[in-house]
């Protein structure tokens, strides 16, 4: 099902909208010129994921050294702070922590480097949870979310 969320011109960078579809709640985010949609349900313990803060990747080369990426590519659940990649729904543990064994991360061939989780994750390892994400398009100046869920690694740009 395709849901019209808002007029694109009313949806400023940094904004988010939460839409209710059937019994599902989906958060639609605009980061720069990109739109993302993610299920408003944290796979950890069911918290309202889309009420959380967005954050950039953080890097450090030693005590007191901080670098952050430009874009807010992550969404943190307000309940326990689990962070998810807005584009893929992939959760990430702290830096260097091994992923839970039962979960496998695959990198599809031909994928653009910016989508490669090994490069995007800034030293952090994929966690056990993946939040549902949905394609978002801008059609005739309206932001439209498609409730057909997509797997990780897919994103529609404006």
């Amino acid at each position: 099902m395709r849901i019209v969320v808002a007029r694109a011109e009313d949806f400023a960078p940094g904004d988010r909208r939460i839409v209710e579809v059937d019994r599902r709640s989906i958060g639609v985010f605009r980061v720069g010129d990109r739109f993302y949609a993610i299920n408003n349900h944290c796979p950890h313990q069911g918290g309202p994921l889309c009420l959380g803060r967005t954050a950039p990747w953080a890097l450090s080369s030693g005590p007191g050294e901080f670098q952050v990426s430009e874009e807010h590519a992550l969404l943190a659940c307000p309940w326990h702070g689990w962070e998810y990649d807005l584009a893929t729904g992939q959760s990430f543990l702290g830096p260097g922590e091994a992923p839970v064994r039962s979960y496998q991360v695959s990198v599809e061939p031909g994928e653009a480097l910016t989508d490669d989780p090994d490069l995007r994750m800034a030293g952090r390892a994929p966690g056990p949870y993946v939040a549902e994400t949905f394609p978002v398009r801008v059609e005739d100046e309206y932001v439209v979310v498609d409730t057909q869920p997509v797997g990780r690694d897919r994103r529609t740009e404006r």
Binding site: A55, A58, L59, S60, S61, G62, P63, G64, E65, F66, H80, G81, W82, L93, G94, P95, G96, E97, G123
Partner: protein
């Protein structure tokens, strides 16, 4: 064979140290009639059951007679905590620690090849501590740098102390955080204690703060070879602290992005703890569970804490370990940690 990672000695009085002080500080001591407190800042009141009846050995002959001779000790590491809370004059503290190290060298280490020692260093002036580590760092009989677990107003992971930790690591010296210390520093997060019981208990509380600070403030990525011995601070607290520390770090890692692995990984890689005092359950099944949770065979190093008396916990611990684990705690963990050849 056994290695004792925490045995105590102390000068009988400050007069013992006069030959190791220069003329200015001799005059300072004698002019002010300065003394050394036998209770070391409230740590060991001479009549308290924890202080032990034998008294702290003042001479190597006394230590030989009471601890070394007839034992299976291959090494005993001397920790002289005398200067932990003597003075707030940073220049005197530097002179006093230097004098104690020279006394240890001349009157102890020269006289028994089983002895090793922690070098005492100033806490008020990190630069002076670095200078003392540089001065003595090549004498392999000093196996560690001794710091009071109850330090000053900042914890040891703070960047103020990084040069001290760095100098120790550069010389291959362990840094030993030993129970007790500065009585003017509040020992708990809610302030000062009101009884000896609370003070005695507080070492295990303070040490958790120091462990947290050293890991959270990124010391071990900067100094991957640094090793920390936790002496006389207990260890039964480790599972609860680390469970919580690992869990909270997953959510709050962003504030400390230099922490690159789970706090518990840093802990078991960089820290060892001495076996005295051992706060453990008496029930055999519960004791076995505690040993497993604590990862005792990896973490612990035998210590007599002579002459202090913390009850029979450490004996029960050793009795609960199988042969290989008991050997690790008695000998091999310390031999590896301190790089001591047999």
């Amino acid at each position: 064979m056994t290695i004792d990672t925490d045995a105590h000695c102390a000068p009988a009085s400050i007069k013992t140290l006069l030959p190791y002080l220069d003329a200015y500080w001799r005059e300072y001591v004698l002019g002010a009639n300065l003394g050394l407190s036998p209770s070391v800042g409230g740590a060991y009141p001479p009549g308290a059951p924890t202080s032990g009846e034998a008294g702290v050995p003042n001479t190597v002959d006394e230590l030989r007679a009471k601890l070394l001779d007839g034992s299976d000790l291959r090494y005993a590491i001397l920790n002289c905590v005398t200067p932990f809370d003597v003075s707030r004059n940073l220049y005197f503290e530097a002179a006093l620690t230097r004098a104690i190290n020279e006394w240890l060298r001349t009157e102890w280490l020269e006289h028994d090849e089983r002895l090793r020692a922690g070098m005492v260093v100033p806490t008020l002036d990190p630069e002076a501590a670095v200078a003392e580590i540089e001065r003595l760092g090549t004498d392999r009989r000093f196996t560690q740098v001794l710091l009071p677990v109850r330090g000053l107003d900042v914890r040891y992971g703070h960047k103020r102390y990084h040069p001290v930790l760095e100098a120790a690591a550069a010389h291959g010296l362990v840094v030993c955080l030993h129970a007790w210390g500065r009585v003017a520093s509040a020992p708990t997060f809610t302030g000062a204690t009101h009884s000896y019981l609370e003070d005695y208990l507080s070492n295990a509380q303070i040490v958790q703060g120091q462990v947290t600070s050293l890991i959270a403030e990124g010391v071990f990525d900067k100094l991957p070879d640094l090793r920390i011995c936790l002496a006389e601070c207990g260890f039964a607290w480790a599972p609860s602290l680390l469970w919580r520390f690992d869990k909270e770090w997953k959510a709050v890692w962003r504030e400390v992005p230099w922490v690159k692995a789970k706090p518990s990984e840093y802990f078991y890689r960089h820290f060892r703890a001495t076996t005295q005092p051992a706060q453990l359950p008496k029930d055999a099944k519960e004791l076995a569970e505690a040993v497993e949770l604590i990862r005792a065979p990896e973490l612990l190093m035998h210590a007599s804490d002579y002459p202090h008396n913390h009850g029979d916990g450490a004996q029960r611990l050793l009795a609960a370990l199988d042969g290989a684990a008991a050997d690790a705690v008695r000998y091999t963990n310390a031999a590896a940690f301190y790089d001591l050849a047999s």
